[in-house]
Symmetry: C2
Subunit: 208 residues, 2 copies
């Protein structure tokens, strides 16, 4: 598991093959099958292993919003450390021990709220959905240049006239200025969206 995670961290999930992991361990491919039944099991184990990294050790803040933000930040940081996590997101339901501990801790963050468990569950689901979406998109944007390999400048060069044509076509009057100007923006995007969502939840809780 540790070997597989090391490979994935360094070279991406695509580099994690049974043979490769075995080699890294000084063994042969089929040896791994003494410990796992299929490759998917290894992926599940990897996911749960890094899920431990989002667990908050110190006591959670009293304020539920601060508690949620603390956890959410750790989720994001974890994925930045292990970008391959997003590749698993769309294909494996991960409910290992550490994943469950994380859910339990997220529920604990809402201890102060005077609503029933189901309501808390729904609140968490919404927050998780936003987090997941943001993290996937962020990861993708970070990975995009790297994925293109050496062709980075080349792709940009190819994209240039394409963009220029789009702008010139006049079919995208609202999008065009954003492309031309670039959408740099500060890096507080994650927390801004999260706070919008928390604001909405809070105002709903307080009877709107």
């Amino acid at each position: 598991m540790a070997a597989a995670i090391a490979i994935a961290d360094a070279e991406g999930l695509g580099a994690v093959s049974i043979r490769r992991v075995a080699t890294e361990l000084g063994a042969r491919a089929m040896t791994l099958y003494s410990y796992i039944e299929r490759k998917e099991d290894l992926l599940d184990l990897m996911a749960d292993e890094i899920a431990a990294e989002v667990l908050v050790d110190e006591p959670l803040p009293e304020d539920w919003r601060e508690a949620i933000l603390t956890i959410a930040r750790r989720e994001r940081e974890m994925v930045l450390r292990h970008p391959w996590r997003v590749d698993l997101v769309s294909q494996r339901v991960s409910v290992g021990p550490n994943g469950l501990r994380h859910v339990e801790q997220s529920l604990a963050a809402l201890d102060g709220l005077a609503v029933d468990q189901l309501a808390k569950w729904r609140i968490l689901a919404a927050i998780d959905d936003y987090s997941l979406g943001f993290i996937v998109r962020e990861s993708l944007e970070r990975a995009a240049p790297r994925r293109m390999g050496v062709s980075d400048a080349e792709r940009t060069a190819l994209a240039e006239p394409y963009m220029r044509e789009l702008v010139a076509s006049g079919a995208f009057p609202r999008l065009a200025p954003l492309i031309e100007g670039g959408v740099a923006g500060a890096d507080d995007t994650y927390e801004r969206g999260l706070n919008w969502l928390l604001d909405g939840i809070e105002s709903d809780l307080s009877g709107r």
Copy 2:
């Protein structure tokens, strides 16, 4: 492209191999390489093709929240029709013509808002992130039973004692009742979360 989409709809993205698509077209594998350079190109084309399905034909509602909801619903419906879309989400940045038209239309939904383009961009990003996260999670949950194939009952049988042990262990006091009771819940989860987010955005816009 149409052949590939048909295969993916019916059997999942995993069934879309070059040979398979070629066979479906009465051709041989290498023939496809006359039209695409690599398989990734085909995937990009497929993604942009179905992106057309989220474009709203009729005029958008005046109210920006209604307009956003209209578009968001179409996104979700599209992915329900083509669940394999989520498999692409974590590996391809898709900016084909239809994808761009979709972005332009989303910006148009915010025409009524009195903020600059960058602010609109940020609002859209937050909404998109939530949508993406929800849709990925929903898709995953729908796919999970199917993915396990015949072992559906078998897996449930395996999971049963595991869950029982978790509940009994007392390590998950908040999670346990949710597991025991099941988390059915109504199916308006998507729009509830979306509305929370829109509430937060709106109150921010109105000067809080």
